[in-house]
């Protein structure tokens, strides 16, 4: 579309793009800057963009103030389990949904759409009561169960797209060769699906790693809480906070999902788009 774009138009476009870049980047730059500033600079009445004497003190202090390592461990356990279990149970169902357009698939697709609209408060109260009866409050196992089901709709959405991308003829060829249904699935379809399955698992991981609401309600003691919940402890009751350690901890909590997201970004956007554009 670059043809006959006038010089003034171009200039305007670059100006607009710069505006977007500033808007998108400045909070993030500010977070990083604050994380590396020594206490003296943070207390200054005229804050600067770039720390004059960058320091790691805030990181050390953050680890001293809150059980960050333990929280990161809890988050990691919850997110890995949720990612793995989610794709283990979602892949077979997504396969059926993609290959058999029957009533079950229609119902499942309908549920995927509707579940996007749940206000979670309607879900969390009964879940809280159910998990309480099972003695799974303040337990990561209970949280993982919730995360698995919570990531399922989008996982199914993505996986159905990946399955549809595998030509059904390949499977038919295998079954003509005498392979059984499950055999075909495992030896022909699964390897082709592998990249999509990995992307979906990572997406479920990120979702669980970032999740806050369910963790806030279901986890009571600091030893059990996940990173996002522990982060909010840095903000005092009156909203007062030690800005440096707060920024340092927040920055660290973002890194894993940011790195993974960069890695699978194309696949996620592709999966999301399949839904947004077609469906």
């Amino acid at each position: 579309m670059s043809m006959r774009t006038g010089r003034t138009t171009r200039a305007g476009q670059y100006l607009a793009l710069t505006g977007y870049l500033v808007f998108l980047a400045f909070p993030f730059v500010w977070l990083i800057s604050t994380a590396f500033k020594p206490a003296r600079e943070l207390g200054s009445l005229h804050p600067t963009w770039i720390p004059e004497h960058p320091t790691l003190d805030n990181f050390r202090q953050a680890f001293d103030e809150q059980p960050l390592l333990q929280a990161a461990g809890n988050s990691l356990l919850a997110a890995v389990s949720a990612g793995v279990i989610c794709v283990l149970i979602a892949t077979p169902m997504a396969y059926v949904m993609a290959r058999h357009r029957g009533r079950l698939s229609a119902a499942a697709t309908g549920w995927v759409v509707i579940s996007q609209a749940f206000p979670f408060v309607l879900l969390i109260i009964p879940l809280f009561l159910i998990l309480k009866n099972l003695h799974l409050i303040n337990s990561l196992a209970g949280l993982i169960m919730v995360y698995v089901v919570w990531s399922l709709p989008f996982a199914l959405w993505m996986l159905v797209g990946y399955v549809r991308a595998v030509p059904a003829e390949l499977e038919e060829a295998a079954s003509v060769d005498g392979a059984g249904r499950l055999r075909t699935l495992v030896s022909v379809t699964a390897p082709l699906l592998a990249p999509g399955i990995v992307a979906t698992a990572l997406f479920a991981f990120i979702t669980a790693w970032n999740e806050f609401f369910f963790a806030l309600v279901l986890l009571k003691t600091p030893e059990k809480q996940t990173l996002p919940v522990v982060l909010t402890h840095f903000i005092g009751a009156e909203g007062a906070a030690d800005l440096g350690p707060l920024a340092a901890a927040a920055f660290l909590a973002t890194l894993p999902s940011l790195l993974l997201f960069a890695f699978i970004q194309r696949r996620i956007t592709g999966g999301m788009l399949a839904g947004a554009v077609k469906s």
Binding site: M1, Y20, P27, F28, R103, Q116, P119, F120, I125, P228
Partner: protein, 330 residues
């Protein structure tokens, strides 16, 4: 698509499963697959084997609790009470009707959802159009536009608290530098709190919208643009006659979904203001959360959830109707 009516099912004794007839005969069909029923049954078993691992958790931890939650809305369920829970009919809903605090939060929720969704869509559309051009910093903008998507909402909230901080925040410092005054305490001011959190909401949700719109743009046929340009159509005309019609289905989808997500959002505002000052940013989800887990009013909070679902269902229905009509147009 032909549907099995109950009458047809009775007549032949067959049943639908997985979109196929199993057992029985299709009306008017000769019994010709005799002896293959065993294979069909094995196929059905295999299907169930594949579906159940996901279906059971969905039913137990999602559909079940949702129905349970709707049921709770008609009871006086409370936390930490020894007396058993009573069925109280629509009493919770009657109370809700007169609960001005709830309707205040509902109004704030709608303001917030519209205030975030509409500007977010317009900004995302602009960014998507720019990213679709052959510009030099495009890769950087794309990378940056993704960041908010990957961040935990709690971190987004914390990050913006640092920006909005009255003394050490960059926003007030910039205002001071530009000589526009001393700046203010954005998140605790009665008039500024809601606009301030709305800006954060817009920032946080832009990536998804931008990516979806960009993909929509890239799906529009290039030739149409060129033809329109050759016909002498200006940029605005080309947008209106070529780009927008192709983009409309995507735009409709993401706007409806974003509205629903925003209306239901929790973490961002919880971290930024906890609903303050004086309830000026208390979204319905925050209100229901407090009602349920601070005051232990499970039944009442569930009723709030039901009202939220009802409103969202109406919006979803309007959106689906619009989308179906849009499908007929093309």
């Amino acid at each position: 698509m032909t549907l099995a009516t109950p009458a047809a099912t009775e007549r032949t004794g067959g049943r639908w499963s997985g979109g196929r007839w199993s057992g029985g005969r299709r009306p008017g069909q000769r019994r010709k697959d005799d002896g293959r029923g065993g294979e069909r049954a094995a196929r059905d078993r295999a299907t169930w084997f594949l579906v159940l691992p996901a279906l059971i958790p969905i039913l137990v931890l999602s559909v079940g609790p949702l129905l349970y939650g709707i049921g709770l809305a008609f009871t006086d369920a409370q936390s930490g009470r020894t007396r058993s829970t009573q069925w109280i009919g629509a009493l919770n809903f009657q109370d809700l009707l007169h609960d001005t605090l709830f309707w205040d939060s509902f109004r704030i929720g709608l303001l917030w959802a519209v205030g975030v969704t509409v500007p977010q869509f317009l900004l995302a559309l602009g960014l998507a159009l720019l990213l679709n051009e052959n510009l030099r910093m495009r890769w950087l903008a794309r990378a940056l536009a993704i960041i908010p998507w990957a961040m935990p909402e709690v971190v987004v909230g914390i990050m913006w608290r640092l920006v909005y901080n009255p003394d050490a925040g960059i926003l007030n410092e910039t205002i001071r530098d530009l000589g526009l005054g001393d700046g203010r305490d954005w998140l605790t001011g009665f008039g500024t709190a809601l606009p301030a959190v709305i800006v954060v909401g817009i920032w946080a949700g832009m990536p998804q919208s931008t990516v979806a719109l960009l993909a929509g743009l890239q799906n529009t046929p290039h030739e149409l643009h060129e033809a329109a340009a050759l016909d002498g159509a200006g940029a605005w005309r080309r947008f209106r006659t070529v780009t927008w019609p192709a983009l409309k289905p995507v735009a409709l989808s993401i706007t409806a979904l974003n509205f629903i997500w925003n209306f239901n959002s929790f973490a961002l505002v919880y971290v930024l203001t906890s609903g303050g000052p004086g309830g000026r940013t208390r979204l319905p989800m925050l209100f229901a959360y407090e009602e349920a887990f601070r005051y232990g009013q499970f039944g009442y909070a569930a009723a709030m959830g039901c009202v939220m679902v009802a409103v969202i269902s109406v919006i979803l229905a309007v959106y689906l109707a619009g989308r179906l009509r849009g499908g007929d147009d093309r």
